[in-house]
Amino acid sequence: MTNDISIDVQNVYKTFRIYHEKRNSVYEQISSTFNRKKYFEDFPVLQDISFQIKKGEMFGIIGLNGSGKTTLLRLLAGIMRPNSGKIETRGKVVPIIALGTGFSPDLTARDNVILNGMILGFTKKDIIKKIDVIMEFAELEKFVDTKLKNFSTGMYARLAFSIAMQVDPDILIVDEVLSVGDVPFQEKSFNAFMSFKKRGKTIVFVTHGLSQITRLCDRAIFLHHGRIHSAGKSNEVVNSFYRLLENKTQTDTGEIISISRRYGPQGIIVNSFDNMIYTANLSGDSISVVNGETNSVIKNIQVSASPRDLIVNEKTNQIYVANRDANSISIIDGKSHELSSTITVGEKPRGIAINENLNLLYVSHRDSNHIFVIDGNKNKVVNTIPLPGSALGLVIDDRTNQIFTTIPNLNSVAVIDGNHNNVIGRIIVSEFPIGIVMDKINNLLYVANRDSDSVDVIDIKTIKVIKHIQVQNNPFGITINPKTQTIYVNNSGSNSVSIIDGSTQKLLSSVHVGNLPLGIFCNPLTNMIYTVNESDDSITVIDGKHHKVISTINLHSDIVTN
């Protein structure tokens, strides 16, 4: 744990025992030992939670009721212990969870302040000295010798809050506090938080008041069914919360507007062995599974926030999904189509590629200039490769173990030595390269440059651009049929696919597809090309033999189970 980290949470799991029929008496316990039925099950409350909070940061946790927020706070405060995983905190932690529950209503405010202060770690002398300050902050000076049972809920909360603020902890853990107390007191607490933050203290904050999260917090996580659904800047996380739960989004000015429920698919992949098509639906936070034989949607799998890209390991039949706004990789079992595990990666993962021979995954990030390398056997990040900029598209040459990745902002393609995990070369291409694909037979790379409406062809041996092919507006995704060496490029600006002949590097023709085609992938066994249309929530199927659109799959169509 480095010095500037104040809370480090790693792969934390917590389960609660849910009793079918709670046996709280000895008789029931004895009778149940003869009756072999299992009377409880372990209910997962938190699953695979990992995050770090820096010193001086205000960190928000949002989620619906029952999503595990309070349990997470209790784990952070040391009240409960996780079943597995690690939680490290640096400095004195003071939790304010459910204000004033530690008070005795039959004792006076003075006695309660002393008792509570001592529980929070004060010596008796120190807390007695601070009573006046505490009562003043709580605006309860007149009631210092009144028994607490005569206090209102608001007064209770104010008193508890004032005590906690006087403790001056390094880490303050706060559950739904600003919602109690009147408006002036809320304002006062807000200012207290801010001065706290200025002094470099860490605050972890749970609330249902989402405007408070965007106003107060630097970063946040969104818990959904005990998993981290999204993580990152607080306004982005709040946005993903709205999107998932209310089909609403928050505009830049803070207004909340309704949006229609959309999938917004951006990534697509085909498992050529079982002819299954998977799309990563960025807006719908889901993966659609399509049967390539019948072109019907089989399943919609909910993953974490904003799945941007995905890849399949055809050997192990596992699908890896890069969840951009959750900073994680979800792993889906290709047979059962169930979520099996998640791996935490860097900030905003957006591209993913696999070396099937070594079972290594490479993940590019938007907000981190690193490629994360994941061992597919252990499902663990084993390495990070620093880059000169943030990468997007990835392709792997498994013969030489070289990785080629596009860096859009630098108009270049970086060449990475996969054995030593370092950058060994850089090729300047046209503006904003996104998609990248390799022709192994001719040893060529094809790069789709969005802002110059072109495809650059690179010779792998010489690492030089040898050809510049003009296509249509905003080429984005690119794919190849390795058998016929035909390259297909999605022109996201003109809703078309350009087809390039790999042996002559000449434009053959183009076909019209749906609105905003982004991802594209080819099944070489069936010679079918699938392009995913972001605005239509659909897949256009192109026959690779006749270069014709043969059908369109609507992802919203009723799910067919076979």
């Binding site: 008496s25 000895v26 209790r74 405060a77 009240i79 409960m80 212990r81 530690g102 529980i119 929070l120």
Partner: protein, 258 residues
């Protein structure tokens, strides 16, 4: 174990404050307040004294003092284990909302009844004066007996408090056990009242040698028997260790069960 000792030691003033506010709460809304600590054993003493001298014609020397010492020490154990047993449940608000070592709560619960015993011991010495009896030199052993009683009560309270969270009917069971133990110990009568065959079983109960030694050193000017003392100390120590180990095991999931 070492870590726990330091943790409890660091929280000693909290334990004390908790125990004192517990005492305050116990006597709230009552006219006599703390005087109940004196009145309660006296009233009990009167009843038992009348029953056993007038009806059973007890022949024990200084019987009222004998009886009072027995009652005070038994009260400490019975009350201490009862308050200790309920301590975690009673303070569940505190335990589920803030980080507080659960030992602290149990400790302060036993301490509350320890304070009550100290008040009652004052009554005892006043009574001795009334009988014209001076405390003998052997009384220097009494503080040790009091400490042993405290530790023994703590050991039981550790088990009971954590077990009660999981099984709430322990409360009634423990009350019955206490009732039975009251009559199976030498509180109101001497060990000679029991048939010879079962006397050694009766004296296995650590309360029996504890009462025996305490009375001998305060009333009868007799030094304790070495083997009795050794037995008492080892049972107390074993009880504390076993109790604490069970407590620690059950403690892991206690917050979830509260």
């Amino acid at each position: 174990m070492n870590k726990t000792v330091t943790e409890i030691w660091n929280r000693r003033s909290l334990i004390l404050t908790l125990a004192i506010s517990d005492l305050k709460l116990r006597y709230r809304n009552s006219i006599f307040g703390f005087f109940w600590s004196f009145l309660e054993p006296l009233l009990m003493l009167t009843v038992l004294y009348l029953v056993f001298t007038e009806i059973f014609h007890s022949t024990i020397q200084y019987y009222p003092l004998y009886l009072l010492m027995g009652l005070i020490m038994w009260n400490m154990f019975a009350r201490g284990t009862s308050i200790g047993m309920e301590s975690i449940l009673n303070k569940s608000g505190l335990i589920t909302q803030t980080y507080l070592p659960r030992e602290v709560v149990v400790f302060s619960g036993v301490l509350t009844s320890f304070f009550m015993m100290l008040f009652e011991l004052i009554v005892f010495f006043i009574f001795m004066g009334v009988f014209g009896l001076m405390p003998p030199v052997t009384i220097i052993m009494l503080p040790l007996m009091v400490v042993i009683l405290f530790v023994l009560t703590l050991g039981f309270s550790f088990v009971l408090s954590s077990l009660l969270v999981y099984y709430r009917d322990l409360r009634s069971i423990w009350n019955v056990i206490l009732q039975a133990a009251f009559f199976a110990a030498t509180i109101i009568y001497q060990i000679t009242i029991f048939p010879e065959k079962i006397r050694h079983i009766i004296s296995l109960n650590p309360i029996v040698p504890l009462l025996d030694i305490s009375r001998n050193v305060t009333i009868y000017n007799k030094w304790p028997d070495g083997s009795d003392l050794a037995y008492l100390i080892s049972v107390t120590f074993i009880m504390l260790c076993v109790g604490y180990v069970i407590f620690k095991i059950l403690d892991r999931r206690i917050v979830e069960e509260l």
